[in-house]
């Protein structure tokens, strides 16, 4: 009897999760797909776009990709050394736990706070909202996620594997790079994906720092549009055509995240062929 109750509970929860996911996808597709045209993908907003006239969201698509890819790149460069540095070969237990606690707190901070923080810093340095500003704030937002997930993966690598490498007369660095990094690579890819997903979908942190524009940025000092903000601005209008475009923008965002997930899964699978669990 108990078994059955728990099994029922599990099935119910699973159904709830799947229904939610399906609901999000169905509604986004249902409301967005009709408005999704080729011109929407490749054109920037023309005059009167926000009143339902000609144009597209290429500015936001390109902007979001630039922001998220730029921030992922910066985060990877910082996160990998930090994640390795937190291992016990390099750092004492106390310092490592303290750092992890700090990162967990940072992970939990609402992204609007990052945005406000970034804004204050930019004002201090006399910068205006720009691609660079957006990338920096998104990097801050993504770093704790990346470092913590990578660190967990690296920590689960069996001591025996490291012993074997050390026993061959390798240095710490050689073992870290040639053995541990390779073994951790699939997990590192997953960590990057997780952070990328959070980064590309975040609106609040880049609201003040990246700004919004109808143009594709020509340099990293130009303001840049983004998909989450495109959704936000368009859905707030009373015009039905523009609202439909908001759903179309959301659909594009959804598709980008989906493609990145699938590609990184495949990559992760390819990389894990060499790994013994």
């Amino acid at each position: 009897m108990e078994e059955k109750i728990f099994k029922g509970l599990m099935i119910m929860s699973l159904v709830l999760v799947l229904v939610m996911l399906a609901g999000i996808i169905v509604i986004t597709v249902y409301k967005g797909a009709p408005a999704l045209t080729l011109s929407m993908l490749i054109e920037t907003p023309k005059g009167g776009y926000y009143l339902g006239k000609e144009g597209g969201i290429a500015n936001a698509i390109v902007g979001s990709l630039l922001l998220a890819l730029g921030a992922s790149f910066c985060s990877i460069l910082i996160a990998i050394p930090v994640a390795f540095g937190l291992q016990k070969e390099y750092t004492g237990w106390r310092f490592a736990s303290f750092t992890k606690l700090v990162l967990d707190v940072l992970w939990g901070i609402p992204s609007i706070v990052y945005g406000a923080f970034g804004f204050v810093v930019m004002v201090f340095f006399g910068l205006r909202a720009s691609l660079l500003g957006g990338i920096i704030v998104l990097t801050l937002l993504m770093l704790p996620i990346m470092v913590r997930s990578m660190e967990e993966v690296i920590r689960t690598i069996p001591l025996e594997l490291k012993e074997i490498s050390y026993a061959l007369g390798t240095t710490k660095l050689e073992t870290t790079i040639s053995v541990v990094l390779r073994q951790a690579l699939p997990g590192i890819v997953t960590a990057v994906l997780l952070a990328f997903g959070r980064g590309i979908g975040d609106a609040a942190s880049i609201l003040f720092t990246a700004g919004y524009t109808d143009y594709i940025p020509q340099s990293i000092f130009d303001p840049v549009a983004s998909l989450p903000l495109a959704v936000f601005f368009q859905i707030g209008t009373p015009i039905p055509e523009v609202q439909a475009r908001a759903y179309a923008s959301a659909l594009v965002l959804l598709l980008i995240v989906l493609v990145v997930s699938v590609v990184s899964r495949l990559l992760s699978y390819r990389l894990s062929k060499n790994i013994v669990r």
């Binding site: 594997l161 026993a167 007369g169 390798t170 073994q183 013994v276």
Partner: protein
């Protein structure tokens, strides 16, 4: 003087003493087997020989381990050079996350061994002058083949050298580990219960390989399988609760042990 010689070696993890005052010479070119019940310090003793113990927290070592006359616990000792001299096999074989070929080439590549040295190494190993054939075959290819043959894995692996080593069976993985360790030209092989994860046939292959290799290498094997010790040991070290109870040639220990505890362990009264 033997390659490996322990003098008054005591090891503690924190306050917990694991080994006390162990003094023993490990005979060259023989298989020395360390036996004793679980948790009596066998693996600790083995890992003290190549300082893998350093990876554990809070380890205190007093006394000395002399490798070719050099105390490895001397702060000035070159740990990397020392570890190269001591090939290591772990309980569960872990292939490095790369192909079979790269597993063997890993050591020589990491140590940036020159082409001349590698050719010399192969010549010494094969006992003849090996020609590097013209064409696509490199000196590393020959090195990989030589060591896979030495570990008895060549026939099974030759057609899939560039596939992930993780796809080998666990028994094959252990022979790969042996080949990989031998490729850095150690003087000794330290094996920590090397057959405990293996099926009986694979275990037999490893034991057979050890008997072949002992001509050229000093082999130290930790085991808790008494029958295995009887099959392969030339020299036996019996540890009990962190104490070196008795050591000596295998025939003597197995047929006529002097200590009561050894007698009890050999006869199976204690395990």
């Amino acid at each position: 003087m033997p390659h490996i010689s322990l003098k008054d070696l005591s090891i503690a993890y924190g306050d917990h003493k694991v080994l006390q005052n162990v003094t023993v010479d490990i005979p060259d070119s023989q298989i020395t087997v360390i036996i004793g019940p679980s948790g009596c310090g066998k693996t600790t003793l083995l890992k003290s020989l190549n300082r893998l113990l350093d990876l554990n927290d809070d380890v205190n070592v007093t006394g000395s381990v002399l490798i070719d006359g050099v105390n490895t616990y001397d702060p000035k000792a070159d740990i990397l050079a020392l570890r190269k001299k001591m090939g290591f096999l772990s309980q569960r074989p872990y292939p490095l996350p790369m192909s079979i070929y790269d597993n063997i080439a890993f050591g020589p590549r990491v140590h940036r061994v020159s082409k001349e040295k590698i050719i010399q190494q192969i010549n010494t190993l094969e006992g003849r002058s090996v020609e590097i054939p013209a064409g696509n075959k490199s000196h590393i290819d020959i090195l990989v083949e030589s060591y896979l043959r030495l570990a008895g894995l060549w026939e099974e692996a030759k057609d899939r050298l560039h596939t992930p080593a993780s796809r080998l069976s666990i028994g094959q993985q252990q022979r790969l580990a042996l080949a990989r360790a031998l490729a850095v030209e150690p003087e000794a092989i330290l094996a920590d219960e090397p057959t405990s994860a293996l099926d009986p046939l694979s275990a037999q292959l490893i034991e057979k390989q050890f008997k072949v290799l002992k001509k050229n290498y000093t082999i130290v094997v930790v085991t808790h399988i008494l029958r295995q010790a009887r099959r392969i040991a030339d020299y036996v070290i019996f540890l009990y609760l962190g104490e070196l109870v008795e050591h000596g040639p295998a025939e003597k220990i197995f047929s006529n042990p002097s200590d009561e505890r050894t007698k009890a362990y050999i006869s199976g009264e204690i395990s």
